[in-house]
């Protein structure tokens, strides 16, 4: 277990700066939402601050790793840390999937008068439950006019993201075998696929808003659609940035076959994002 040389960093200014940055970003966002544009500078400064601090903080970690300050035990701490972080992300999405299932299985049928829940049905006697919900109960909520076919862009995106998990695995195997050229090419391809995914998702959002009336305000269908795909998309963007950083590090000659957890953590994250998408494809688009 402990080898007696566990690396304990000295005082660091990054955490407190990160707190200030995050606090400013949160405060600024709240000000923008409640009091309008005046809060914008606070939000942007906070955002820039947190991005900058994260970059510098990770830079320190990379430098320490390159100097050989980390032993196997430290490596295990990072592994546990990343693993449990991803578990927390799983639970974040679980809340949103739970929302989707609850609304489809319980809330809408009850509004329609199913089961012993007759009271809810009295609110909107003409309401008919269906999924996708094109006609929400209230007259003041305009539902979508149609829904997106899963077999066009979403299918393409599924193939892209699943494909990117495969290319990433090839790159990772290459790294473990010490084939740097393989890593550069296949990791580059993975990043490219990630960017393609984001672009296609952007096209799809445009279509949803302009042609199908699927908006955040379009009742529970639009709300769950954008909640799930939106947070997933944000994670793809973050994952792509992480992979780009890994690509830069590979070009700079970082990582060794036996010292590559940074890469592996990025791969874990990417696979997690991929698995979430498969859940989305099945339950948001297909079924």
């Amino acid at each position: 277990m402990s080898g007696g040389s566990y690396y304990v960093p000295a005082s660091s200014k990054w955490p407190i700066l990160a707190c200030i940055g995050l606090g400013a970003m949160m405060l600024g966002t709240g000000l923008v939402l409640v009091y309008g544009r005046a809060g914008m500078p606070v939000m942007l400064v906070g955002l820039a601050g947190i991005v900058l601090v994260m970059a510098l903080w990770f830079r320190d970690v990379v430098l320490e790793s390159r100097q050989g300050l980390y032993d196997n035990q430290m490596d295990r701490s990072f592994r546990w840390g990343m693993g449990w972080f991803i578990f927390s992300e799983v639970m974040f999405f679980a809340a949103f999937f739970g929302t989707l299932f609850y609304v489809r299985t319980f809330a809408l049928p009850w509004l329609d008068g199913e089961g012993a829940k007759g009271v809810a049905a009295l609110l909107w006697p003409d309401f008919n439950a269906s999924w996708p919900l094109l006609e929400p109960p209230g007259d003041n909520v305009q539902g979508p006019s149609a829904t997106l076919s899963p077999w066009h862009l979403p299918l393409v995106n599924t193939l892209i993201l699943v494909g990117s998990s495969i290319t990433l695995t090839v790159a990772h195997e290459g790294l473990k075998e010490g084939h740097r050229r393989v890593v550069r090419h296949w990791l580059g391809l993975t990043v490219l696929l990630g960017i393609c995914f984001i672009a296609i998702q952007g096209v799809e959002y445009r279509e949803a808003y302009l042609h199908y009336g699927i908006t955040l305000q379009a009742g529970i269908y639009g709300a769950t659609f954008f909640l799930l795909t939106g947070f997933h998309g944000a994670h793809v963007i973050i994952g792509s940035v992480i992979l780009m950083v890994m690509l830069v590090r590979v070009y700079r000659g970082h990582f060794a076959p036996d010292n590559q957890f940074g890469f592996e953590a990025a791969a874990w994250y990417w696979h997690f994002v991929d698995v979430v998408w498969i859940g989305l494809f099945l339950f948001v688009y297909v079924f």
């Binding site: 402990s2 409640v34 300050l69 449990w84 974040f92 919900l133 769950t224």
Partner: protein, 544 residues
Amino acid sequence: MASHLPPGSSAQSHQLETAGTVSDTHYAGPKGLMRWLLTTNHKEIGTLYLLFSLSMFFIGGLFAMVVRAELFQPGLQLIQPEFFNQMTTMHGLIMVFGAVMPAFVGLANWMIPLQIGAPDMALPRLNNFSFWLLPVAFTMLLATLFMPGGAPNFGWTFYAPLSTTYAPPSTTFFIFSLHMAGISSILGAINIIATILNLRTPGMRMMDMPLFVWTWLITAFLLIAVMPVLAGVITMMLLDIHFGTSFFNAAGGGDPVLFQHLFWFFGHPEVYIMILPAFGIVSVILPTFARKPLFGYASMVYATAAIAILSFLVWAHHMFVVGLPLAAELFFMYSTMLISVPTGVKVFNWITTLFRGSLTFEPPMLFALAFVVLFTIGGFSGLMLAISPADFQYHDTYFVVAHFHYVLVPGAVFAIMAAVYYWLPKWTGHYPHLRLSQWHFWLSVIGVNLTFFPMHFAGLAGMPRRIPDYALQFADFNMVTSIGGFLFGLSQLLFVLVVVLCIRGGNKAPAKAWEGAEDLEWTVASPAPLHTFETPPDFTPHRH
């Protein structure tokens, strides 16, 4: 970069008994405020957590005093109903997220590395980040009191649509402050898990760990599992408030009841997050002062795990009257009652630990014993509330308030105080003032029971919670409750006095401050030097 290595692992821990200033002699980092802002040391961060928690305990307590002052007599005397609602809400939020949770995290920071023979937490910089997010978050939360429309006024459970459609503008800031507190909790929990799983001294198996470490491992798992769900649900609130979504709005096909499901899927494990570390503390303190090993160590571990797993399956017992299908009423009633089995295992194990022990009644032991008795009262009223048909009568009455205050105040808070009295000699090198500690204990016990016991009767007689005024027949109970509340609140000033005196001086404590204490933290000097266990200590498992 090499200079970032910790100060030399030599010498400093060998001058055991004359400890006093040992912790500072080898320190060469930033001075003054910067030292605390930049620290990566688990002991300093633990201290920060504990001080933060203490200050929040008094702020939240002040809000409770306002509530009790208004409820002293029927009628509206001091404050308006709107402000009363803000007080009950902020009291709950501050106490749950600002006082109890950070106190346990502070204890974990201080004691887990010491109890498992680790040099520090696994990820020390992340540890600093986790702490300093809290002052930022709670400054924002307290600032809502001064915003137009006032602070959040919908209860600490912030049910939609009260917290969305009908909420004050400050709700947005409440959401962001909770986001930051949540990030803090998740990262803190990740750190604790990585520390426990990876930094135990060679030879210490999982089943050798002190119960406090075990309960925190399981608590950390709960935190990582449910804090993201809280983040999800407050994000959905934010979208409903500002972006026109319909998650909790039936007109758009959503459902306010969905909010309650999501909230309590977080909220129920959350109550175990606030009590499992308390179980651990009591399981460490009772054997020390009974001078006997803990009875049923393994069953304690399994019971803790069982409680944690069951805590994911019981959430809707908070929602019995919301209109659940009959099958759900039955499922959640029985699953909730099932929790009393592992909890009972624990209580019986504590009692059996005491059985035929050579007991002494130092302050930590007093609080731990009070915990066992008074927490069990709260457990039993919980069992009453679990019975769905009975809950139709109890729901939203003061009986519920009595129940959860019994598990949280003489439960969680007493355990925290027991822990503070138990480990103060390790932290400061001095024993807390005995007579003052005893006064603090007895005034607290009397105050707590005066406050919360009459609430049972008021609740059973039908007094609703969260109201600033009440029918005349509840007047006597409320007056007793208020007097008890003031007594309890004031006696906590005594606690501060004891802690301050103990930091400044007192009877010197040896490395092993309590005769019956067995764990690794008692092998280092008192006060513990800034850096401990830079080389892993020898460990021989003691019998459980």
